[in-house]
């Protein structure tokens, strides 16, 4: 079912050429786009035979969407309060509306801008970073769509040895019916650099309630992460797009020697959210810690895939995905750990856990392993699915908490591992609020079940 190529009415060679031209791109970058376009035409929507039955695009109407053309120059910026962040980049609908560097970041040499902002004498630098499609999986049709058709390219560059204490905030707001943004984000940390990034993906500010009949909106993005030797990066993400938005993201990370990456990713919003993460542990001693949660309700679908490839010796992968599904929502949590023959001394764990809170909800978990090197410290995976543990509910009720509150607290506790890793107290609080709001309002009224229990 998913072996056919993606059908995207908006993706044409003419459109790709027009985009490249209006951005004034060099020839090699146009060639990158055309190479990607060719791949989209040839690749099946899901190229991994293991996962082909588990890509469910039935709710997605790509034909609804007319993606934005490249935006004009950034609009004038108001003085923005950084609220404790080192820097802020805000993209609203089609383009950048705010870009603020705090004094610490500016002094340290942090660079945040578009692909076009990379100074012309260092254009070759951009090419070394993203040339030959090296920052995105070549076999993934969704990643190649971004590579072919992006209208905004963002670069975050933390030079060698720069250590930022405060987080960099990358904010996206989007939701105009029938429109979409295709955006690439490149995050490069030099040797020994250290940074944290908070991604906030929020619905359009107008606050109009979602009309299911209206055209869908689309956010199609990437995080392309390159970590130099000894670099350390934390990425926290809160995806809370509106109910009419389709959100697709590829995150691709390559790690140098002793580099460390921590992903803390929360998916709450959108109608359909597809995320694929590729971690490549190339450098000896590199490590990735990944916690990912999805909290679905209504007809939401969360398609959360992660690939972790151990290549260097003594690398560590610690991956945890958790899903909570209400109503008719569905989660497809797919993971593959590959331990190459070269990767002696690997420590790898993959956990996929889901909690179904309604009879119509569905959870598919596929925690897979492919191992070519037995000399490991650990290679294991674990998975579970189940309802809320009644003995935990009973315990909390015995402490005087009512049933519904107990259930809610258990679910929030299940998701807490991600919440506690979000930088900035304000963002952490925001995420807690979003998760609490997700809890069905009707459930706070006593139901037949709670009455009998009480």
């Amino acid at each position: 079912m998913s072996v056919a190529p993606l059908k995207l009415p908006f993706l044409t060679e003419e459109q790709v050429r027009v985009t490249s031209q209006s951005l004034g791109e060099p020839a090699w970058l146009l060639d990158e786009r055309l190479d990607a376009l060719g791949r989209v035409g040839r690749l099946p929507a899901e190229s991994n035979q293991l996962f082909t039955p588990y890509l469910d695009l039935r709710q997605v109407r790509f034909a609804d969407v007319d993606p934005y053309a490249p935006a004009a120059r950034p609009r004038p910026q108001a003085a923005t309060d950084l609220e404790g962040a080192a820097a802020l980049l805000h993209v609203d609908e089609d383009g950048i509306v705010e870009r603020v560097l705090g004094p610490e970041a500016a002094a340290a040499g942090l660079k945040i801008g578009t692909f076009g902002d990379v100074p012309s004498d260092s254009r070759q630098l951009l090419r070394t970073w993203i040339g030959d499609g090296s920052t995105l999986p070549s076999d993934d049709a969704f990643a190649q769509v971004a590579r072919a058709a992006f209208t905004l390219g963002i670069v975050v560059h933390v030079p060698d040895g720069v250590r930022l204490e405060r987080p960099i905030v990358l904010r996206s707001t989007l939701g105009a019916a029938g429109r979409g943004l295709i955006v690439r984000t490149l995050i490069v940390l030099g040797e020994g650099a250290r940074a944290s990034i908070l991604e906030e993906q929020l619905p359009a500010a107008d606050g109009t309630p979602h009309d299911p009949q209206a055209a869908q909106s689309l956010w199609w993005g990437t995080s392309e992460v390159r970590l130099g030797d000894g670099a350390s990066l934390d990425v926290a993400s809160i995806q809370d797009f509106g109910a009419g938005t389709v959100a697709i993201v590829n995150r691709d990370a390559r790690l140098g020697r002793d580099a460390a990456l921590r992903w803390s990713l929360a998916s709450i919003g959108s109608l359909f959210h597809k995320s694929r993460i590729d971690n490549r542990l190339e450098g000896r001693g590199s490590s990735v810690h990944q916690v990912e949660i999805g909290f679905g309700s209504g007809a939401q679908i969360f398609d959360l895939t992660s690939y972790t490839r151990h290549i260097g010796e003594d690398t560590t992968g610690d991956l945890l995905s958790k899903g909570v599904f209400l109503d008719r929502s569905r989660g497809y949590i797919k993971g593959l750990i590959q331990i190459n023959q070269t990767a002696r001394g690997t420590d790898s764990f993959l956990g996929e856990f889901s909690m179904l809170l309604d009879r119509k909800a569905r959870s598919v978990t596929i925690p897979s392993l492919e191992i070519d090197q037995p000399d490991v410290r650990r290679a294991a995976h674990s998975s579970s699915a189940g309802p809320i543990d009644e003995s935990q509910v009973f315990y909390l009720m015995s402490r005087g908490i009512d049933r519904e509150t107990a259930r809610k607290q258990i679910v929030l506790g299940f998701l807490e591992p991600v919440v506690s890793r979000v930088p900035l107290a304000r963002a952490q609080e925001h995420l807690r609020e979003l998760l609490e709001q997700k809890w069905p309002a009707t459930a706070s009224a006593p139901t037949a079940e709670t009455q009998t229990a009480a």
């Binding site: 035979q49 293991l50 082909t52 023959q341 889901s354 179904l356 809170l357 309604d358 009879r359 119509k360 909800a361 569905r362 959870s363 598919v364 978990t365 596929i366 925690p367 897979s368 392993l369 492919e370 191992i371 070519d372 090197q373 037995p374 000399d375 490991v376 650990r378 290679a379 294991a380 995976h381 674990s382 998975s383 579970s384 699915a385 189940g386 309802p387």
Partner: protein, 467 residues
């Protein structure tokens, strides 16, 4: 690790032999509609079976080759002989079995095994069941144990009622192939409330270069009845590929208990592509105890569809993948009814460049409330030439399911080897013992004779592998 490897002989050849014998019927190589019609005509089958075969044949042609596992494109379907009949009729008495065939069985040790405690023997020599003996007491109890072809004639009603209902031809490309050209296999019928006191055993064996073996087994166990069925395989080694495509259907009716044990040790040129499935009705129990040590490539996931309330499923799958082998095995439990339980335990060993793959599926369908399911997969890799994969699929559509899944992959612990060596074992003996211990979850479920044989088999495999 490889330093002393050459010093230990791989003795597998001793189990690989073949006899030159004259086949009474042999259809032409390759598969056409005429082949299917010829097989059916040779067997004097009723028309419905011919129609069933033809429907399956059409589906086989249409169905694409599965792509989720590799290497199947190497099978040349045109080079296979789809039907051979080595002797004219089924033999009831050992004395009547042709001398040459008997000799092969002697070398496999069947008569000894039978003398000990076998309840019945159905030995498949190529495509027909040539020898059958069911202890009289079983016949008195109404238990039927015979070749599938014979059952089609002698028990047409019950046969037609269940045949192809558990694994329809359209299930997959290879069930379609089997349905088109099937021949031989066992038919077991256990009437209501009857407990078969001893395991029923069938010894399967391929002989003849490029002989396809397409056996078809159907086991029907009535309300409250119990049976244990055991099959084991050996086959001679040949240079070109052999193909074994079997279908096993088990119908476990209410409150029955069925255990099906397999020791698969085909020679290393055989493609072993098997669809095994059971339907478990109310409060019944089905157990697949499945070990795979032989073949070039095995694709087999014993499955249980839990269709009745309170049914339970237990699957133990063991695989040993050596040089040039790919064991693509696993298990499936599909929960279709409330209060059903399943447990899957998988153990694999890969060595000398072999590849062991666990592929499993646990599905809880809407309506199947209060399900408890667990999966446990452990893999042992003996060297870094080998490969181990784990692909578990867990699809839950009921909110009160309790499911757990765990998997680990590792190598033999040097601490354990050191400990055993300090107690006077050689390194090789220590490693043998650890591997046998690792597989014990399977071995302990076997009747004693089989357990001994299986441990010997593992030891032989290990002697070729370790030093």
């Amino acid at each position: 690790m490889t330093s002393t490897r050459d010093a230990v002989r791989d003795r597998r050849d001793e189990f690989a032999f073949h006899d030159d014998l004259i086949y009474l019927h042999e259809v032409k190589r390759g598969l056409t509609r005429a082949t299917v019609e010829e097989i059916s005509a040779l067997k004097n089958e009723p028309d419905w079976m011919l129609q069933f075969r033809l429907r399956a044949y059409e589906h086989f042609l249409k169905r694409p080759m599965p792509l989720w596992t590799d290497g199947l494109d190497k099978i040349n379907f045109d080079k296979i002989v789809y039907y051979r009949k080595p002797s004219e009729r089924e033999e009831k008495s050992w004395e009547d079995v042709p001398e040459q065939i008997k000799d092969t069985f002697e070398r496999l040790g069947i008569p000894e095994a039978e003398r000990k405690f076998l309840a019945g023997v159905g030995a498949q020599y190529d495509s027909e069941v040539v020898y059958h003996s069911v202890k009289e007491e079983l016949t008195k109890l109404g238990v039927v144990f015979m070749g599938t072809d014979q059952a089609l004639i002698e028990f047409p009603d019950i046969f037609r009622k269940y045949f192809g209902t558990v694994v329809p031809p359209e299930d997959n490309k290879f069930s379609a192939l089997n349905s088109a050209v099937w021949s031989g296999g066992s038919f077991v019928y256990v009437p209501k409330g009857v407990e078969v006191p001893l395991p029923l055993q069938a010894y399967f064996r391929i002989n003849g270069e490029n002989t396809g073996q397409f056996e078809r087994t159907l086991i029907v166990v009535e309300d409250g009845a119990r049976v244990h069925y055991i099959e084991g395989c050996t086959a001679p080694i040949y240079a070109t590929e052999s193909l074994h495509v079997a279908v096993v259907e088990v119908v476990a009716l209410a409150r029955s208990k069925v255990r099906y044990t397999t020791i698969q040790n085909w020679s290393n040129d055989v493609y072993n592509l098997v669809t095994k499935r059971a339907h478990a009705y109310e409060d019944s129990t089905v157990e697949w105890i499945d070990a795979n040590t032989g073949s070039r490539k095995t694709v087999k996931y014993p499955s249980i569809y839990l269709r009745g309330r309170g049914a339970s499923a237990d699957i133990i799958s063991v695989a040993v993948a050596g040089k040039g082998q790919h064991q693509d095995t696993g298990a499936k439990a599909v929960h279709l009814a409330p209060d059903t339980k399943s447990r899957i335990v998988s153990k694999s060993v890969s060595k000398d460049g072999g590849r062991a793959t666990y592929r499993g599926h646990v599905k809880v369908a809407p309506g199947a409330t209060n399900v408890v399911a667990s999966v446990r997969c452990d893999a042992l890799m003996l060297d870094d030439e080998s490969r181990s994969d784990t692909y578990p699929y867990i699809d839950i559509q009921e909110d009160d399911t309790s499911l757990s899944h765990e998997a680990t992959v590792g190598k033999i612990s040097q601490d354990q080897v050191f400990y055993l060596m300090s107690r006077g074992l050689t390194e090789n003996e220590a490693q043998n013992l650890i591997v046998q211990g690792f597989l014990e979850v399977f071995t302990k479920e076997l009747p004693m004779e089989y357990a001994i044989e299986f441990n010997r088999l593992v030891k032989l495999e290990m002697e070729g592998a370790l030093g």
